[in-house]
């Protein structure tokens, strides 16, 4: 069963909040071709949690897809750190 949109949005917000501490991920994210789409997805998730927007199915899909991409970026960082050790 898939996670609720609230949980997905919260996880995305947590990733967003930690971007400033993870320069490597931030750099990798902003160098991607779809960087703008990912930032919009994170922004939507945060705005949704603030109660500033409601989202339709298209919006929910965009947020979920963004989480998948951002999560992969962060996991890639974890893998790199493990390799370094």
């Amino acid at each position: 069963m898939s996670e609720t949109i609230e949980i997905v949005a919260q996880r995305l917000r947590d990733y967003g909040n930690s971007l400033d501490e993870n320069e490597g991920v931030a750099e990798e994210l902003t160098s991607r071709e779809d960087a703008e789409e990912l930032l919009i997805g994170m922004g939507m998730a945060d705005a949704y949690l603030h109660g500033a927007i409601t989202i339709y199915p298209t919006g929910e899909k965009h947020i979920r897809n963004t989480l998948v991409e951002v999560q992969t970026l962060f996991e890639g960082l974890d893998d790199d750190e493990a390799d370094d050790e």
Partner: protein, 513 residues
């Protein structure tokens, strides 16, 4: 009393002599209030009140010697207070001799530069400091340059190093010397001939007195009655610490010619000495603003006007003639115009101000007109914080984006944008306004004053108008002469005198009546 650390208050002096019990009541009220430190500057303050001030009272001649001894005999008290101790006029030659051999250069130098200090040893002390290879000169060196009495030999020694910058001051030794009030006329002439210039501050003369300075201590008796909070950014609540206004003290001070008594219709008519200090105590607390503006605002062409700009938030009036100079002045540099002051709601209970941030200003603050999330994060904000606010600010008026990304705004959207924008916004981005506070019971009224009091206020303003150099106070006086010319309650004989001043703006106002 501008630019003075210790002054005599002529009105308190009379109160102490004629009504000693009332004077004691007054000193006790101030002593218990949040303004007790003001006692330290007034020569009439009694010993018992100064004693309660601790080290702040040390420089006062009435500070008890026994209490001074406590500071001298306690190593800890001495260490934390020696700068104040050396300002005490009650130190003896023996005290100074004792500290002239201190190992601490700041203490030794302070003792040597004292009027009881050894002048030859002081010269050697300063000479050694200048010759020292130490990069940092102690603080006492800076203090000596701007506050010691310098004999010609020491003056020459300092002049020879005039371009050096002591580490404890941002200017040169030459600029420090210019701040020294004890320089002789010959020494000043020497500095001029040697091309040694004062530290550049174009506004220092213009604002004379209207920066942080002292009101007569006796004026505090009126402050609680009039609701004026002395001190920048202070709170109206602090006035309560002065207790209820004491009408017997106020009556006695007015009888001795206190200038603030002129503003109160119910007080008896007494001549006031025309002076800069009297003007300062009427204008700086904005009493004359209230006296004239409150009633002039009843006119359809006169209103309170607040305008903010970079690093300022000016309060003035709108009027076709009296408001013209302000209207035409550069907003960030208009506080100098006569009558204008910087608005501070906490200290101006007679006004009611509002500050609003429009949603468009908030959006511009967050996005800085950029069109992508990337640019906002990287170029405007420099971080990835508040991504939600950035997103909604970016898409607030973009219906296409709402369709493309599948979302709609809720009624909370603007609150979220405003909250984030408010956190970093400059005060000049707000839409500001002010009006007379409808809940304020104004007791100052030009209409209610006797012709005698009006005449006295006119004389004071003319004194300010005649200040030979351009200054804020002079400009303020000119503005209030204009208000006087406009006010319907100004008697004909004063209108005639106003005309005789031959001031263009006053004549224009008179012609418009």
């Amino acid at each position: 009393m501008p630019n003075s650390n210790l002054y005599s208050d002529p009105f308190l002096k009379q109160l102490v002599t004629k009504e000693p019990k009332l004077a004691d009541t007054f000193f006790e009220n101030v002593s218990k209030s949040k303004f007790s430190e003001k006692l330290a500057h007034c020569l009439e303050s009694p010993s018992w009140a100064l004693e309660k001030l601790g080290k702040e009272g040390l420089k006062h001649p009435n500070y008890p010697r026994a209490k001074l001894d406590q500071f001298l005999n306690s190593p800890d008290l001495f260490k934390e207070s020696f700068w104040e101790i050396f300002e005490s006029p009650n130190l003896t030659p023996d005290d100074i001799a004792k500290y002239s051999i201190s190992e601490n250069p700041n203490v030794r130098g302070s003792a040597l530069m004292h009027e009881f200090g050894d002048k030859d040893r002081f010269f050697d002390f300063m000479s050694d400091l200048l010759a020292s290879t130490e990069s940092e000169l102690p603080t006492v060196f800076t203090r000596a340059c701007w506050s010691a009495t310098l004999d010609d030999r020491l003056f020459q020694l300092l002049v020879n190093s005039h371009s050096r910058i002591p580490s404890t001051y941002t200017g040169t030794i030459g600029e420090l010397l210019w701040r020294n009030k004890h320089l002789t006329e010959d020494q000043k002439a020497f500095l001029i001939l040697a091309g040694i210039e004062k530290k550049t501050d174009a506004n220092s003369d213009f604002w004379d007195g209207l920066g942080p300075t002292e009101h007569y201590l006796s004026s505090f008796a009126y402050f609680s009655k009039l609701g004026f909070v002395p001190g920048y950014n202070d709170q109206v609540e602090n006035l309560k610490s002065l207790g209820s206004p004491n009408s017997a003290v106020i009556d006695a001070l007015t009888s001795s010619g206190h200038p603030i008594g002129l503003l109160l219709a119910e007080q008896k008519d007494v001549s006031t000495d025309v002076s800069y200090d009297a003007l300062f105590d009427l204008i700086e607390p904005h009493f004359l603003h209230r006296l004239f503006w409150t009633e002039l605002c009843e006119r359809p062409d006169f209103a309170i006007y607040r305008r903010n700009a970079y690093r300022t938030d000016d309060l003035f009036i709108e009027h076709p003639i009296l408001g013209r100079e302000f209207e035409n002045a550069e907003p960030s540099d208009a506080t100098r115009v006569g009558g204008v002051f910087i608005f501070d709601q906490a200290g101006e209970p007679w006004l009611a101000g509002t500050e609003e941030l429009s949603i468009d200003s908030a959006i511009n603050e967050i996005t800085s007109y950029e069109e992508t999330m990337m640019d906002i994060c990287e170029h405007v904000r420099g971080n990835f914080e508040d991504l939600g606010a950035c997103f909604i600010a970016l898409t607030r008026y973009d219906e296409e984006a709402q369709l493309k990304y599948g979302f709609a705004f809720t009624e909370k959207v603007d609150d979220v944008i405003l909250e984030v924008a408010t956190a970093d916004i400059d005060s000049d981005q707000y839409d500001v306004s002010a009006e007379l506070n409808p809940n304020w019971n104004e007791i100052l009224s030009w209409k209610a004053l006797s012709d005698f009091k009006k005449e006295q206020i006119f004389e004071l303003l003319v004194h300010g108008h005649n200040i030979p150099t351009d200054s804020k106070l002079k400009n303020d006086c000119d503005h209030f002469l204009g208000c006087m010319a406009l006010h319907e309650a100004t008697p004909p004989h004063l209108l005639k005198k106003l005309k005789e001043l031959n001031m263009p703006i006053v004549n224009e106002v008179l012609a418009s009546r």
